[in-house]
């Protein structure tokens, strides 16, 4: 099985440790990975901001880069959601039947990491060790676009040493929404305030999610307020083992 790693642009640039952790987990399970260098960005920011036209070349690039792989895996529910749910529509908008056919053929093979582990590989214990109190934020796109359900929690529940505590009002949006956080900064901040309050209520030291984008948002406030809670992509927790219990270099807030 040829597995192509899709490391979204902001993970590559700002959160490389989530990508590194993804590699560590999958290699530990015995899989060989490939990282095609032609990849850049899925174009979600453009689509969500109204600049659909600009994204068609990115769709072409994605298909060119990943078309030959048996499976494509990414540590980002949001970007996989973009590819799976929005690319088919963009290809239709581009009035390019060949592109539409390529997208249609590729899309079912593009997976978010935790779904890939649980559904495709049939694994729920990845042999991780993480002796920390963790709460999990189910991101909007992971739940309501990709419908990954409780797959991340099922994986986390099998991590040795972990103390997984439920997050109240977990499915409520953190207020990120891409450029929404800047264009409607006040409303975004009001939503974020509620999410931060809920996270602190859990007494967790680590907030985990399947999306670095939402974690960047919530983590930005956790750090600004010096709350002492750090964020971790779920891959970083799954990558941690005894002797290397903290896979990433995320700093505590």
């Amino acid at each position: 099985m040829r597995i192509g790693l899709f490391i979204p642009c902001f993970v590559d640039t700002l959160f490389p440790h989530a990508g590194m952790a993804t590699v560590r987990v999958l290699e530990r399970l015995g899989h060989q990975l490939d990282y095609p260098e032609g990849q850049t960005c899925c174009g979600q920011m453009h689509v969500n901001s109204g600049y659909q036209r600009e994204v068609v070349p990115l769709v072409r690039n994605f298909v060119r880069t990943f078309g030959s792989y048996d499976q494509v895996v990414a540590p980002s529910a949001s970007c996989v959601g973009e590819v799976r749910e929005v690319y088919p529509r963009l290809a239709r908008l581009a009035r390019d039947p060949a592109l539409a056919a390529d997208v249609e053929a590729l899309v079912p093979r593009v997976h978010e990491l935790t779904s890939f582990l649980v559904d495709t590989l049939g694994v729920d214990d990845v042999g991780a060790y993480f002796p920390h109190r963790v709460t999990f934020h189910p991101t909007c796109h992971s739940q309501r676009v990709l419908h990954i359900g409780d797959r991340p929690q099922r994986l986390l529940a099998r991590v040795r040493g972990i103390e997984l505590v439920p997050l109240p009002d977990a499915t409520e949006c953190c207020g990120f929404g891409g450029t929404f956080a800047v264009k409607n900064a006040d409303t975004s901040s009001a939503m974020l305030a509620s999410k931060v309050a809920r996270v602190l209520q859990t007494g967790a030291e680590v907030l985990a999610a399947a999306d670095n984008s939402c974690l960047m948002h919530i983590g930005g406030a956790l750090h600004r307020q010096r709350t002492g809670v750090r964020t971790a992509h779920v891959a970083e927790i799954l990558a941690a083992t005894e002797g290397s219990s903290w896979g990433g270099t995320e700093r505590a807030a």
Binding site: I7, C9, D12, T13, L14, P16, G19, M20, V23, D34, Y35, E37, G38, Q39, T40, C41, G43, H46, V47, N48, S49, G50, Y51, Q52, E54, P57, L58, N61, R89, C140, H141, R144, V145, T171, E172, C173, G175, F176, G177, G178, T179, F180, A181, V182, K183, N184, A185, D186, T187, S189, A190, M191, L192, S194, M216, G219, G220, A221, H223, R251
Partner: protein, 484 residues
């Protein structure tokens, strides 16, 4: 226009003001939180809820695809049963029709129920200009009318007020002494009832909206909780109903679906207390004259757009408002339209088509909570995306070549060009690492200028680390013999 015209201003600005209102924040959080939980219980208990949603969607989609023939059938059957049908292209035409009918009757007052569509066209003001006073009879509509405020919620127009505020309002408007009225809901309802009973028995003209109209029998339906609507539709001698053209359904079998979907989604009830149906007029029973005004007011244009026509499936249940984390914080007035919340964010820009309303599609994080609860499965996030695209394209068309000078437009074009080429993308990463240096403190950026300052006003940003994933991958491949 129950009691006022919504103020047109860009959403972000209106929201910033609304967010400061601590009483509003508390009232909204409490009310939407309670209704959210009740709705979840009322829908979860139905084993076939998802099938019902799909049936509701399919019924609406089918009707919209054949809207012309169903509307003509409706007209035919209303007329056959002694009613009159009027067609209104826009708000001005609809208002003129109602005003002329009322003036011909010599009416000085009218009692109203289900006023959302008449709010959309500003009927109360049009009637006032002709010397006719319209009295809202829905309790919450009455509250906002007495407060001279626009409604802030489709179903609960006074959701932004708590009972202490309503008591104060009634004391002033009904000229009562503080000792005469407590803030108990029952006491407040009784005060409103005393005020309204007089009107029900003396006013000869009723004006209503409609939840549904059944084409194959010419029957109009109003769904409500208080019974005041039934007073309005049965006691006056003349009844005028103003209805958006998208409210028509083919036949009575559609009601089996919608009378389950609507109450559970809106008030979280299994069945609403009052469901009124009437077909034309009947001698000696109810109004002796019935007029149905069919309103377009932009709906045909919505229908013409393949991507956006699902907007017209809406049955005005307001479930999307109650689950929306944006609405729950800023309230209805920030949307500057009688249609607030997620459905308003897609409906208002299409019906109003103003620069202010064009900011509404951006008033969402695309979290999808609205789509998840919508009883007729309107994919609100995807319509929002389509409207954002329309907004960008229009801005470009307006500015021509100057569009590239717009900061966001320029940045997006540049980003697209960078992302289209892996080499340029890596150059940008290296550049970002360099230019961030003056802003980085202890691994984080705490203050940024301009557009991005919106982020750092309340959030830190992680600094770009020394090595990208790609660089790490390459160094690893080199170490392991460069087989990759």
């Amino acid at each position: 226009m129950s009691g006022g015209t919504p103020r047109a201003q860009p959403f972000a600005k209106a929201a910033r003001e609304a967010l400061k209102d601590t009483q509003l924040r508390r009232n909204l959080a409490k009310a939407t939180g309670a209704i959210r939980e009740k709705r979840a219980r009322a829908t979860e208990e139905l084993p076939d809820w998802e099938a019902l949603r799909e049936a509701g969607r399919a019924l609406k989609a089918h009707t919209l695809a054949h809207l012309d023939s169903y509307l003509m059938q409706l007209e035919q059957n209303v007329v056959a049963r002694g009613g009159q049908v009027h067609w209104a292209r826009d708000a001005a035409e609809a208002n003129a029709i109602v005003r002329d009918l009322a003036t011909a009757l010599g009416a000085r007052e009218a009692i109203k129920v289900k006023s959302l569509t008449t709010d959309e066209i500003g009927l109360n003001d049009a009637l006032a200009a002709a010397g006719i006073h319209a009295i809202e009879t829905d309790l919450a509509e009455l509250i906002v009318q007495l407060a001279h405020e626009p409604s802030s919620h489709i179903l609960v127009p006074a959701i932004h007020k708590n009972r202490a505020e309503i008591r104060e309002l009634f004391l002033r408007a009904m000229d009562l002494q503080p000792s005469e009225l407590s803030d108990e809901p029952a006491a407040l309802a009784a005060a409103a009832r005393r005020f309204l009973r007089d009107k029900f028995l003396s006013v000869d003209l009723g004006i209503s909206g409609a939840n549904f109209a059944i084409a194959d029998s010419g029957t109009v339906c109003v769904v409500e909780s208080e019974g005041n609507g039934r007073m309005c539709t049965t006691l006056p001698t003349t009844l005028i109903t103003v209805m958006g053209i998208e409210k028509v359904v083919p036949d009575w079998s559609a009601m089996e679906v919608f009378l389950q979907l609507l109450p559970r989604s809106s008030t979280a009830e299994r069945m609403n207390p009052y469901t009124s149906f009437w077909s034309g007029v009947r001698e000696g029973d109810g109004p002796q004259a019935f007029h149905l005004v069919l309103l377009d007011n932009g709906r045909s244009e919505v229908l013409a757009s393949e991507d956006r026509r699902q907007t017209l499936q809406c049955i005005r249940c307001s479930a999307c408002l109650n689950v929306c984390p944006v609405y729950a914080r800023v309230g209805g007035h920030a949307y500057g339209s009688h249609y607030p919340g997620p459905i308003g964010a897609i409906l208002s820009p299409q019906l109003l088509d103003t620069p202010e309303a064009d900011t509404l599609p951006f008033a969402s994080t695309l979290c999808g909570a609205c789509y998840e609860v919508c009883p007729v499965k309107i994919d609100i996030p995807s319509v929002l995306l389509d409207l954002r695209h329309r907004s960008v394209e229009r801005k470009r068309a307006r500015r021509g070549r100057l569009a590239a000078l717009d900061a966001e437009d320029g940045a997006m074009r540049l980003a697209a060009a960078v992302f289209a080429d892996p080499r340029r993308y890596q150059q940008l990463q290296r550049w970002a690492r360099r230019v961030q240096r003056p802003f980085v403190r202890d691994g984080h950026v705490e203050r940024l200028p301009g557009y991005l300052g919106g982020w750092t006003s309340t959030r830190d940003l992680p600094a770009v680390p020394e090595r990208t994933f790609r660089e790490w991958w390459r160094s690893r491949a080199d170490r392991t013999g460069g087989e990759r």
